[in-house]
């Protein structure tokens, strides 16, 4: 974990409402493990003060890149970031994904920025497998070509059927899963909570492993403020676990889903 004043190398629209922000970060870049994130201080955020957490889309000796979408004050203010600007980041944060079990078929399941959050993992995994990407419409399915170039088979699904199977990601995953030796599947999931829960349930019902990346509001990102907690099962019941420090990756069986 490092705090680094980075310089913006690149900032451009990527696809749909998504933008890519590339930062020169020689301190943070080389330390990144798949699944980790960073806390970014949005310049000129004015009357808002907290950092914003972002998964690390790409990382290397020279720096990092994040792929993001404007959804509110912070991410909207990021639109004004210019190449050359200084951006203060803290990272890499959280525990990355565990080493993939080479005896199993790696399966990536993602939606929204989750696709970006899984990219480094897909890159670094020896054994390539299959990736299920869900989204509202074709425009929301990110990085299909990039994952295919890494040697992954990509199965997109869209709510409106504009790309791949029509329906939720499960519409493509379930029939595929039916034909597999389930004990040999290992899932790596990053996306909206319903997607995480759906995949987690399947993992538990069918006896395979599913690593889920959780997204919670965060204030500190390092485990100090206890904002980002989720309920983690224990023998006796449950305990709070910090998404930022104890996660953001949890195995499906660890999580006690609320409501």
């Amino acid at each position: 974990m490092k705090q680094e004043k980075t310089t913006v190398v690149e900032h451009h629209n990527f696809q749909g409402e998504y933008r890519i922000l590339r930062l020169a970060a020689p301190e943070v870049g080389p330390r990144v493990q798949p699944g980790q994130f960073l806390e970014l201080q949005v310049p000129r955020l004015g009357e808002r003060i907290l950092r914003r957490p972002f998964s690390i889309y790409q990382a290397g000796p020279e720096g990092v890149a994040v792929l993001y979408k404007a959804v509110g004050r912070g991410t909207e203010a990021m639109a004004a970031i210019q190449p050359g600007d200084e951006v203060d980041i803290i990272g890499p944060l959280g525990n990355g994904y565990p080493e993939a079990d080479t005896g199993k078929t790696p399966v990536l399941v993602a939606g929204g920025y989750g696709n970006a959050a899984l990219y480094i993992l897909a890159q670094r995994m020896q054994k390539k497998g299959i990736a299920f990407f869900g989204g509202r419409s074709a425009i929301d399915i990110l990085l299909v070509k990039e994952f295919e170039e890494l040697g992954w088979e990509v199965r997109p699904t869209t709510d409106d059927g504009t790309l791949g199977t029509e329906g939720l990601v499960t519409a493509a995953f379930d029939p595929w899963m039916a034909a597999q030796d389930k004990s040999k599947l290992e899932l790596f999931v990053c996306g909206p909570n319903p997607m995480l829960k759906a995949m987690g349930d399947r993992a538990i019902d069918n006896g395979f492993t599913a690593w889920l990346s959780l997204d919670r509001n965060m204030a500190c990102g390092v485990g100090a403020c206890l904002t980002c907690v989720i309920k983690r099962k224990t023998e006796t019941g449950w305990e709070w676990a910090r998404c930022c420090k104890d996660g953001p990756i949890f195995e499906s069986r660890e999580i006690l889903w609320e409501d």
């Binding site: 490092k2 705090q3 009357e47 390092v222 403020c225 206890l226």
Partner: protein
């Protein structure tokens, strides 16, 4: 307890020490103030626990923690590696909890002092209830005073019209210092869901918005008592800390700013040193309470 420099961190904004240790050299802090501890492990509030407001934030964490025993097992070994004094923020659901938690912690050399949280707006029992009535406030301090020789530092609630009376009471009951201020009771409501933004409904306001309120409370308290004051509330820059010292604080604590820039306590330490040199002072004491008012 000797603080190396007048800058500590505010309880609850710096965890128990390890959380920021990779980013901040804990040996450079004047003291480490840890998150609130009560006798038994406590689960705290549901989520959402924090909410960002214009210029600041609300929190209603609800004092989750490992309890005294858990703290000693999990964190004392880590904290004992550092030379920096450790101030343990203590709280209780009832009066005797304050006595019990002190009894459980007092044997630990690593525990240098107790900050008595009599002002947490985010727990049903205890907390603020003790902090807004002078008699109750005093009785808790007396209770704790009777249990320990270590310095005790009552932390005052800001939502009172007469902070001086509490400062005076703390001194009369044998407190070694006082801490001002805890968060300000506050609330935010989502106008689409009609739900409070915090699961606890209410929370405490912290950060830059409360600084002018805290400066006034410190000034008033400094006029009402002779024991040292640890001032806090919206310290984000060295100038903020210096303003607290001039208002009458002997030391300061950096809270919410840690989330924004973890190096703030160190920047504040350096900034104070620079200021003292610029103004030709030889020690922090030279500027404490020097406000022309």
């Amino acid at each position: 307890m000797e603080m190396k420099n007048p800058v500590t961190v505010a309880s609850g904004t710096f965890g128990y020490g390890p959380e920021y240790a990779e980013l901040v050299d804990l040996n450079r802090l004047g003291a480490i103030t840890v998150k609130g501890i009560c006798p038994e492990a406590h689960v705290g509030n549901n989520t959402p626990r924090t909410f960002e407001t214009r210029g600041g934030m609300l929190n209603a964490i609800g004092l989750p923690g490992p309890g005294a025993k858990g703290f000693i097992e999990k964190y004392v070994p880590f904290l004992s590696q550092y030379e920096t004094p450790v101030i343990v923020n203590i709280w209780g659901k009832g009066k005797d909890d304050y006595a019990r938690v002190v009894d459980m912690l007092d044997g630990e050399d690593t525990v240098s002092a107790y900050e008595i949280n009599l002002s947490c707006p985010n727990v049903k029992e205890g907390g603020s209830a003790f902090g807004t009535d002078v008699a109750t406030f005093a009785s808790v301090i007396e209770l704790v005073r009777a249990r320990t020789r270590k310095p005790i530092i009552p932390k005052l609630a800001p939502n009172v019209p007469n902070i001086g009376a509490f400062a005076k009471a703390a001194e009369d009951c044998g407190a070694d210092a006082i801490a001002i201020m805890n968060t300000m009771p506050a609330m935010a409501i989502n106008i689409d869901t009609l739900e409070p933004e915090l699961a606890n409904k209410f929370g405490g306001l912290s950060g830059p918005p409360i600084k002018p309120i805290a400066i006034k409370l410190v000034f008033d308290a400094a006029r009402a008592c002779t024991i040292p004051i640890i001032g806090m509330g919206g310290i984000f820059e060295p100038e903020d800390a210096i303003e607290f010292l001039i208002a009458g604080a002997t030391a300061v604590a950096v809270g919410t700013a840690n989330f924004v820039d973890p190096t703030t306590p160190l920047r504040v330490i350096e900034g104070i040193e620079r200021y003292l040199i610029e103004k030709g002072h030889t020690s922090v004491a030279d500027i404490v309470g020097t406000v022309k008012a």
